[in-house]
């Protein structure tokens, strides 16, 4: 217990007495986690935009006259990839036509009754599922015709695949680069105390006793850096989204505070963990060196 108390005190002492190095580490951690957070938000927004476009992709299945609507809906819902179905009655179809072409829609009523067929609007999970679902719909006996934007679906599928791969690569690169920068900063901070580590070992300190204050120091610095990065990220992100929404109102930006809160929590946890591991690795290296006899 006393050892933990001393370790906490020494960890804090390391931060305060090397305040220049501590500030540099906090600033580096803050920059690093700001970049990771910003990359994550960028990736999440791109995915959100692609996903909202995919959500707008629908297949219109026109039913045969006097077809059993319930049976058709049941058969469609049973198909894989189908996320949602909506029955468009004759009246609804007319209403839609009216909203599209205005009073000219009255022309269809000249025939006496509404000639528009009933249809089912189908939403699938991904744009890449559209073609396959359309192929399966052909086999449903109640369906007479199928209409969908084949080329758009195809292109959206490609974009979606690219965004998925790009976002993973981008995040991995950001995390790897940030990890290396933070690790090196902490290593420099520990390196400046290499001789101290050797002296501590010489007067009988165990590896754990020497390691703990450095690990606590790294933990506190990483945590603080990531905390400030989260604050900065939150502030700049919402300010940017407010402006972008004015300029690009048709793009659905992520505005959920719950999601950004989760991201901030993730960044802080990451900051503390990465710094802790970096300190541990850096100190362990010098401890091994100090305990190795000539």
């Amino acid at each position: 217990m006393a050892a933990v108390r001393y370790a906490c005190r020494d960890g804090w002492r390391l931060i305060v007495r090397h305040w220049g190095m501590s500030l540099l580490t906090i600033f580096t951690a803050m920059s690093v986690f700001f970049i990771i957070g910003a990359s994550t938000l960028f990736v999440l927004n791109v995915r959100n935009i692609v996903s909202s476009l995919e959500n707008q992709m629908t297949i219109q299945a026109y039913l045969k006259p006097k077809a059993d609507v319930k049976a058709a809906e049941k058969a469609i819902k049973a198909l894989p990839y189908v996320k949602e179905t909506k029955l468009i009655t004759k009246d609804m179809a007319l209403e839609r036509l009216r909203s599209r072409i205005g009073e000219q829609a009255k022309a269809v009523m000249l025939l006496g009754e509404n000639p528009l067929p009933e249809s089912i609007e189908i939403k699938v999970r991904k744009a890449s599922d559209v073609a396959e679902t359309a192929r399966l719909l052909v086999a449903v006996p109640e369906i007479e015709d199928i209409v969908y934007a084949g080329r758009v679906a195809e292109k959206l599928t490609k974009v979606s695949g690219f965004v998925e791969k790009f976002s993973i690569v981008m995040l991995l690169v950001a995390i790897a680069a940030s990890g290396v920068v933070l690790f090196n900063t902490i290593r420099i901070s520990v390196y400046s105390r290499e001789e101290e580590i050797g002296v501590m070992m010489m007067v009988g300190a165990t590896s754990t006793y020497v390691t703990l204050p450095f690990v606590i120091q790294g933990f506190i610095l990483g945590l603080t850096g990531a905390f400030f990065a989260s604050l900065l990220l939150g502030g700049t992100y919402y300010a940017a989204v407010t402006r972008l929404k004015d300029m690009l109102p048709f793009i659905p930006f992520i505005e959920s505070t719950k999601l950004t809160g989760k991201l901030a929590f993730m960044l802080i946890c990451c900051g503390a963990t990465v710094s802790l591991i970096s300190s541990l690795m850096a100190v362990e290296k010098f401890i091994r060196k100090a305990s190795k006899p000539l």
């Binding site: 006393a2 501590m200 010489m202 007067v203 009988g204 300190a205 006899p293 000539l294």
Partner: protein
Amino acid sequence: MEIKFSGVTKIFQPDIIALEDIYMQVEKGEFVYLVGETGSGKTTLMRCITREVIPTRGQISVGGNLLRKINRFDLALFRRDIGVVFQSFLLLPNLTAFENVAFVLEIMGLTPREITERASEVLKLVGIWRRRNLYPPQLSGGEQQRLAIARAIVNSPSLLIADEPTGNLDTHTADEIMQLILGINAAGTTVMMATHNQYLVDTYRHRVIEIHRGRIVRDEEQGRYEHHGSC
């Protein structure tokens, strides 16, 4: 704490023979001067005792511990029972004089009260109590030397290894430090002290081991400081 060297040879790469075929036995409570010219191997011999250096050949046993086989944890425990005054002091620059001394007691798990009492007592003993809140770089060479001695004796070690402990001190202060070390020895601590100070060796007569080019060339009870080959 007794020390035993059996056929110890240390060769630093590529082919620098620092110690050659050393046989030596120091009994518990003994006081031994290590003399010899600079580069003769005194410091290497002492560093072998603290296991900073491991011999190329031969065995070293300190207090019954075979140093070649000791593991990392046991080495830490072993070092807690040894006080070392390094030639270059090796104080912790970011700790005050008081904290430097207290550190040794903290790692031994003493209570804060015991630490304060013991560290204060030792700092008063070596005469730097008033400078306790200063950092090592703020102390003079002599004060750093005293602080290094205070750190080495604060845990009442069974063995005190001192490499030129009076090297930076004037004759009067060197005498005071010597009295301090003799007092520690009188309390039962084995002392091995490397020195170039002829006055001290000739005044406070004890066993003298002279090393020349890595070999023991003289081992005398109640010896004098004499260079190998002189007279």
